[in-house]
């Protein structure tokens, strides 16, 4: 099987290098399709994201991001359609206002800025999707395991 150097083999358990876990909320119409395109086109990107498909980036509830980090995700990536491309006309526009405020508040309370990332990726941008994931992974990996203000220590009575 052809394998590039940069490809990470997830089944290789000997590879002990730190791999962050990133919860990726992808909108059904653009970013999820973009990720799919990256897959079928064999564009490589680190196997660090756990994809959660949402109908629209406007569906993102700030609590999703907080809960992901409380439960131990090292990072969160939210991606939707480019402004103007929303399947529901304006979902990503209203989401954009919300995202800007979330980002600003989380930084204010002391969360590392790079833990939460937002992007627009269209269904045609397979290459760009892999670039985004690479970039996000790099930055989250640089921060190290989630020890942030939202991480509930020792399970804290959660389901885990």
């Amino acid at each position: 099987m052809f394998m590039e150097d940069r490809q990470v083999n997830v089944s290789d358990t000997d590879n002990k290098a730190y791999q962050p876990k990133i919860a990726a909320f992808l909108c059904n119409w653009c970013s999820y399709a973009g990720a799919d395109l990256a897959g079928v086109s064999r564009f490589q990107y680190p196997a660090t994201i756990r994809t959660i498909r949402v109908p629209c980036s406007g569906r993102i509830n700030p609590l999703y991001l907080l809960k992901a980090m409380a439960n131990g995700a090292d990072g969160v990536l939210v991606s939707g359609c480019h402004p103007g491309d929303c399947h529901y006309i304006s979902g990503n526009y209203v989401a954009r206002r919300k995202f800007a405020l979330i980002k600003s508040l989380l930084k204010h309370v002391g969360l590392e800025e790079d833990r939460v990332s937002f992007s627009w990726v269209s269904a045609a941008e397979g290459v760009r999707f892999s670039e985004v994931v690479k970039g996000v992974t790099e930055r989250v990996a640089a921060l190290g395991p989630n020890n942030s203000v939202f991480k509930v220590k020792d399970g804290g009575g959660t389901d885990e």
Binding site: P62, A70, L105, G110, F118, G135, V149, K153, D159
Partner: protein, 316 residues
């Protein structure tokens, strides 16, 4: 007895006697010194309970949608802003409301007094002077000394909507810098802010007083009470407390009217306002919106513009 109180009572008596409203929501003398308590007057005979002074710290808009029927509400500047937001969000029917506007000089922050004199046993207010007998001594304060932090920077002491205005109006001082407290906090380093809010969250006992006192926290089921999904456990720790506070603040983004009721309701003295004010400032700066000023201006998060800032996106 000040003339405003007389006017309030007379207005309430008239409204109830004429059958224009079923209930007048106002303040009565509380059981604790320097603390008025909300009261609901349903008959004209009872209107003499009503008071109005610097201890009327609750935001009565919080009761406006909980009480059925036609109601009159004694309304300060911040209460009226909350009413505007509630009207915009279709939580209230305007025809059921009779807004009795009174201008507000600000309210007393009991905690400032208690820090010096211990628990307050007795207190009297005369001509802007507050004489207090506390557990560990007595003292006299001027009103300006013990004014609540919210009221010190209040820009809307006069109601923005009202059906009748009682008493005079309060002049709004020109503020050189808006949100000076937020700017000061932003100027600190990330780790300093993290430490500050961590300390605040350690104090929180998640009693949800802030949520209960808030006029705009009206969700039928609050996310903290939700079982499926279970956002929060019963555990009280720094991370989950911050989850709660941040979640609440994000729910109030673009809606909070900065009445400070949450901070005053907090038994632990958590600086909840600092988070809400940060959000208010961001909304003002990014979207030029102040909540509850006019019914005709749509809430900031209900609208959008093609050129909203998006500097927060990843750089790829």
């Amino acid at each position: 007895m000040s003339s405003v109180v007389e006017e309030i009572r007379e207005t309430a008596r008239q409204l109830l006697a004429d059958g224009k409203v079923d209930v007048v929501i106002g303040y009565e003398k509380g059981t604790l010194p320097l603390k008025a308590t909300p009261c609901f007057v349903r008959t004209a005979q009872n209107v003499d309970k009503l008071i109005w002074d610097e201890t009327c710290e609750n935001n009565l808009a919080a009761f406006s949608y909980k009480i059925p029927g036609k109601k009159a509400i004694i309304t300060k500047g911040c209460d009226s802003r909350a009413l505007v937001v509630l009207l915009q969000e279709n939580q209230l029917v305007k025809d059921d409301l009779y807004i009795i506007g009174v201008s507000c000089q600000g309210v007393v922050d009991k905690r400032k007094i208690e820090n010096e004199l211990g628990e307050i046993i007795e207190a009297t207010i005369t001509d802007g002077k507050i004489s207090v007998k506390g557990m560990s001594g007595s003292g006299e304060f001027t009103f300006a000394e013990v004014k609540d932090a919210t009221c010190q920077t209040c820009r809307y002491p006069n109601p923005v909507i009202e059906d009748i205005h009682l008493g005079g109006t309060v002049e709004v001082p020109e503020e050189a810098v808006l949100f000076a407290d937020v700017l000061e906090m932003e100027a600190k380093s990330d780790s300093e802010r993290e430490a500050y809010f961590g300390e605040q969250m350690d104090k929180c006992i998640r009693c949800y007083s802030c949520r209960n006192a808030c006029p705009l926290c009206y969700c039928q089921e609050c996310f903290v009470d939700c079982n499926t999904p279970r956002w929060l456990t019963g555990g009280v720790n720094r991370a989950e407390n911050l989850f709660f506070q941040a979640g609440r603040v994000l729910h109030l983004a673009g809606r909070c009217v900065d009445c400070g009721t949450c901070s005053r309701a907090c038994p632990q003295g958590v600086d909840i306002r600092a988070l809400n004010r940060k959000m208010s400032r961001d909304v003002l700066e990014m979207y030029q919106h102040e909540s509850g000023i006019s019914e005709d201006v749509k809430p900031a998060l209900n609208v959008y513009s093609g050129d909203d800032p998006e500097a927060f996106l990843v750089k790829e």
